[in-house]
C-alpha cells in the first residue's frame, strides 16, 4: 500500500508538469497532499502516539491550501495564464532529467525505505523543474507545494517521525507563505491583467 501510494505521489507531481490548466494542476497537487496525509494516517499504528497530531496536521494543511488555491483560481479567471509555454513533452523531459540527476546524486540518508528517499528527492526536483518551466504565478506556487510534499513524504518516513513542533511549525509557515502568495497573485492579476510571470520583467540592469 505504501509503495503504491509513494508511486502515485511521484506521478502526480509529473502530472503537474505537463498539465496546461491551472485548475487541473491544483487538483493534482491537492490529491498529492492528501495522499501524503493518507500515508501518514496508515503509518499511525506503527508510530508513537505523537505521530497522530502530525498526521492530522498534514490532512488539515492539504485541505486549507487546496481551498486557498481554488479561491485564487476563481478570482483570476483567464485564458492562457502562462502565455505561450514550452510544449508538455519538453517540460516532462526537463523535469525527468532534473529528477534523475538529483536522485542519482543524493545518497541514502536513513529513511524507512529507499523508495521514500527517492520519492522525496524526486518531488523536490520536480518542484524545481516546475519553477523553471512554468510561467503562471499559480504554477510557481504549485512548484513550492510539490517540493513541500517531498519534505512531508520524507518526514512521514523518518523512523519515529519528526518532532511535532517542527511538523506544526512547517505546516503553519507553509499556509502563511501560500496565503501571502495568493495576495500577490491577486494583486499581480489586478495590476498586470495577467498572471504570466513573463510580464514581470521590468526590473533589469
Amino acid at each position: 500500500m505504501t509503495t503504491a501510494l509513494t508511486w502515485i505521489i511521484v506521478l502526480l507531481s509529473l502530472g503537474c508538469v505537463v498539465m496546461r490548466r491551472r485548475s487541473i494542476a491544483v487538483a493534482l497537487v491537492g490529491i498529492q497532499s492528501l495522499c501524503v496525509a493518507t500515508l501518514a494516517v496508515f503509518l499511525v499504528p506503527s508510530r508513537p502516539s505523537e505521530f497522530i497530531p502530525a498526521a492530522l496536521t498534514l490532512v488539515l494543511r492539504a485541505l486549507v491550501i487546496a481551498t486557498l488555491l481554488v479561491i485564487a483560481i476563481r478570482r483570476t479567471r483567464q485564458t492562457l495564464p502562462g502565455g505561450d509555454e514550452t510544449i508538455p513533452v519538453i517540460r516532462l523531459v526537463v523535469a525527468g532529467a532534473i529528477v534523475a540527476a538529483l536522485v542519482a546524486l543524493v545518497p541514502a540518508f536513513g529513511l524507512e525505505s529507499h523508495l521514500a528517499e527517492h520519492g522525496a528527492v524526486a518531488l523536490i526536483a520536480t518542484g524545481l523543474a516546475l519553477l523553471v518551466t512554468r510561467r503562471a504565478t499559480l504554477f510557481q506556487v504549485v512548484a513550492l507545494l510539490v517540493a513541500e510534499n517531498g519534505i512531508a513524504l520524507a518526514a512521514v518516513n523518518v523512523r519515529g517521525g519528526l518532532p511535532i513542533v517542527i511538523e506544526l511549525g512547517v505546516a503553519f509557515d507553509l499556509v502563511l507563505v501560500v496565503t501571502v502568495a495568493m495576495v500577490f497573485h491577486d494583486r499581480i492579476f489586478d495590476v498586470f491583467g495577467t498572471t504570466d510571470t513573463h510580464a514581470l520583467q521590468e526590473l533589469r540592469d
Binding site: P163, G169, L200, L203
Partner: protein, 480 residues
C-alpha cells in the same frame, strides 16, 4: 514579544499621527529591550545562557545589537517615508497600520533568529521573516514592487524548502529512535557530529547551506536581492540588507560550527569561500554601473555578504573577528545609506530611477550622510569595514589561502573604486532639477549622520581588542 505588543497597540490608533506616535514610543522601548538581551549575550560569551529552545551567547548578542540598532533606525525614519508615500487603495491611517504591523512583525521574527537554540526552530523563524517581509517589499504597490516582492517570496521560499530537506536528512542521520526536537539543538549536533555518517552529513550540509544561501543572497542564487532591496520602502530595505541577510548567515555559520567534527574542514571552507568569491565577482561589475541609489546599495550588500562568507570560510580568530566587525559596521553604514534615500527622492525625484547627481550642491547634510555611508562601505579608514576586511584578508593568509585572498583583495579594490566613482558622480556635478525641503529635514539628516559616525568609530575602536577577546576565541573553537 515587545514588537508584537506594539502591533496590537496599533489597532487603537485613531488617525495617522496616532500610529506614528505609537511607533515613536514603541521603537525605542523595543530597541532597549533587545539591546539588554544583546548585553546579556555578550557578557556571557564564555558561558551562554540556554533554555529548551533559546540561546543567548556572545555571537548572538552581537547580532541582536545589530538588529536593535537597525530596527530602531528603520522605525525612526518610517514616518518620514510614509509622509511622502501615497497609497490609492487604502487611507493614510490604514496604510500606516499595515506598514507598522508588518515592520514590527518582521522585527520580532528577526530577533528570534539569533536566539534560536535549535536548527529546526531557526528555520521556522527564518521562514516567518519571508512571509512578513515579502508584503513589505511590495508595500508601494507599484508594478516593479510587485515584481520584486513576488521574486523574493518564490525564490527564497523554494530555497528554504531545499534547506528544510537538508535538515530532515541531517535529523534522520542523527536520530535512530523516537522523535526528539533536542536532536537539532546546536550542542547536540556538535556532540553527535563525530559519530555521523560523513557522506550523508556532507550532503545534508551542502543542501542546507545551498538553501540558506538563497535567503542570504549569496551569488549565484541572489537574483531576488537587487530587486527586493531597491523596490522595498527604504526602512525595510535597511532591515533586509543590514539585519536579515547577516542574521541568516549566522545560522549557516552555526551549522558549520556544529557539524565541523563530522566534515572535512577543507570541504566546508571551500563552500563558504566559493560563495564569497562568486558574490564578490558578481557584485563588483554592478558597482561600476550608474545605478539608482537604492539599487547600488543592494549590489553593495551582495558584495559585503560575500566578504562575510569569506570570513566564515577562513575560520580563524582573525577572520572571525573580522566577520563580527563587518556585520556591525555594514549594518550602520547600510542603514544610513538607505535612510538617506528618503530625503534624496524629495530633493531629486529622478534619483528614484537613476543615479543621483550634484547632491553636494542641493543639500550639505544629505551629501554628508550619503558621503559617510559610501565612505564607510568603501572601507576608507577609519571605517570599521576597512579594519574588518583587513582582518578577514589576514585571516585568509593565516588559513594558507593565499590565492583566494589575493583574488578577494583585488575584487575588493575594484569594488572600492566603483563606490568611489559613485560617490564622485552622485555628490559632484550639476544637480539639474531641485525641490526645496524644510529645515527640519536637514536637522534629522545631520543627527542621523552624526550618530552613525559615532557608531562607526566605536566599532573601529573595538577592532584592536576583538581578535583576542573571549568572543572570538569561543567562536573559533566551535560549539562545545
Amino acid at each position: 514579544m515587545a514588537p508584537l505588543v506594539v502591533v496590537l497597540t496599533l489597532g487603537a490608533a485613531r488617525n495617522p499621527r496616532h500610529a506614528d506616535a505609537i511607533n515613536r514610543v514603541g521603537a525605542p522601548i523595543c530597541a532597549a529591550l533587545i539591546a539588554c538581551l544583546a548585553g546579556v549575550g555578550i557578557d556571557h560569551a564564555a558561558d551562554p545562557v540556554t533554555g529548551s529552545w533559546y540561546l543567548v551567547d556572545g555571537v548572538g548578542g552581537v547580532f541582536l545589537a545589530v538588529i536593535a540598532v537597525v530596527g530602531l533606525t528603520s522605525a525612526a525614519v518610517s514616518p518620514a517615508y510614509l509622509l511622502g508615500h501615497r497609497r490609492a487603495r487604502t487611507g493614510a491611517l490604514r496604510s500606516r497600520q499595515l506598514y507598522y504591523a508588518g515592520l514590527y512583525v518582521f522585527w520580532a521574527a528577526l530577533v528570534a533568529v539569533p536566539l534560536a537554540n535549535n536548527l529546526g526552530i531557526a528555520w521556522l523563524v527564518i521562514e516567518a521573516t519571508t512571509a512578513s517581509s515579502a508584503l513589505l517589499v511590495a508595500f508601494s504597490g507599484t508594478r516593479s514592487a510587485l515584481e520584486a516582492g513576488w521574486k523574493y517570496l518564490v525564490l527564497t521560499s523554494v530555497g528554504l524548502t531545499v534547506a528544510l530537506m537538508g535538515i530532515v536528512m541531517l535529523y534522520t542521520t542523527s536520530v535512530h529512535t523516537s522523535a526528539s526536537l533536542a536532536a537539532l539543538d546546536w550542542k547536540t549536533l556538535a556532540r553527535v557530529a563525530p559519530h555521523l555518517n560523513h557522506q550523508t552529513t556532507l550532503v545534508a550540509f551542502c543542501v542546507i547551506i545551498a538553501g540558506l544561501a538563497t535567503k542570504v543572497g549569496w551569488a549565484p542564487v541572489h537574483n531576488w536581492l537587487p530587486d527586493a532591496h531597491s523596490e522595498a520602502p527604504p526602512p525595510v530595505s535597511a532591515l533586509l540588507s543590514a539585519a536579515l541577510l547577516p542574521t541568516v548567515a549566522l545560522v549557516a555559520w552555526r551549522v558549520d560550527l556544529a557539524l565541523r567534527p563530522a566534515l572535512d574542514p577543507r570541504a566546508t571552507e571551500a563552500i563558504f569561500v566559493g560563495f564569497g568569491l562568486v558574490s564578490l565577482a558578481v557584485a563588483v561589475p554592478f558597482l561600476w554601473k550608474s545605478l539608482a541609489w537604492k539599487r547600488f546599495l543592494a549590489y553593495s550588500s551582495l558584495e559585503h555578504m560575500g566578504v562575510i562568507a569569506l570570513g566564515i570560510g577562513f575560520h580563524n580568530r582573525w577572520a572571525t573577528a573580522g566577520v563580527l566587525i563587518h556585520v556591525a559596521g555594514h549594518a550602520i553604514a547600510k542603514s544610513l545609506g538607505f535612510s538617506m534615500s528618503i530625503p534624496l527622492v524629495r530633493y531629486q525625484p529622478a534619483a528614484s530611477h537613476r543615479a543621483p547627481r550634484g547632491i553636494a550642491r542641493l543639500s550639505r547634510p544629505l551629501s554628508l550622510g550619503m558621503g559617510l555611508s559610501l565612505g564607510a562601505l568603501a572601507g576608507i579608514p577609519p571605517s570599521p569595514l576597512f579594519v574588518s576586511e583587513a582582518l578577514i584578508l589576514f585571516g585568509g593568509i593565516a588559513a594558507d589561502q593565499i590565492i583566494v585572498t589575493a583574488i578577494a583583495a583585488m575584487l575588493l579594490a575594484m569594488g572600492f573604486l566603483g563606490i568611489a566613482h559613485m560617490g564622485i558622480e552622485s555628490l559632484g556635478g550639476t544637480p539639474g532639477e531641485r525641490r526645496a525641503t524644510g529645515r527640519r529635514t536637514g536637522v534629522w539628516i545631520s543627527s542621523l549622520a552624526g550618530a552613525s559616525a559615532f557608531g562607526l568609530l566605536a566599532i573601529t575602536s573595538l577592532a584592536y581588542v576583538l581578535p583576542y577577546s573571549t568572543l572570538a576565541t569561543v567562536l573559533t573553537a566551535g560549539i562545545r
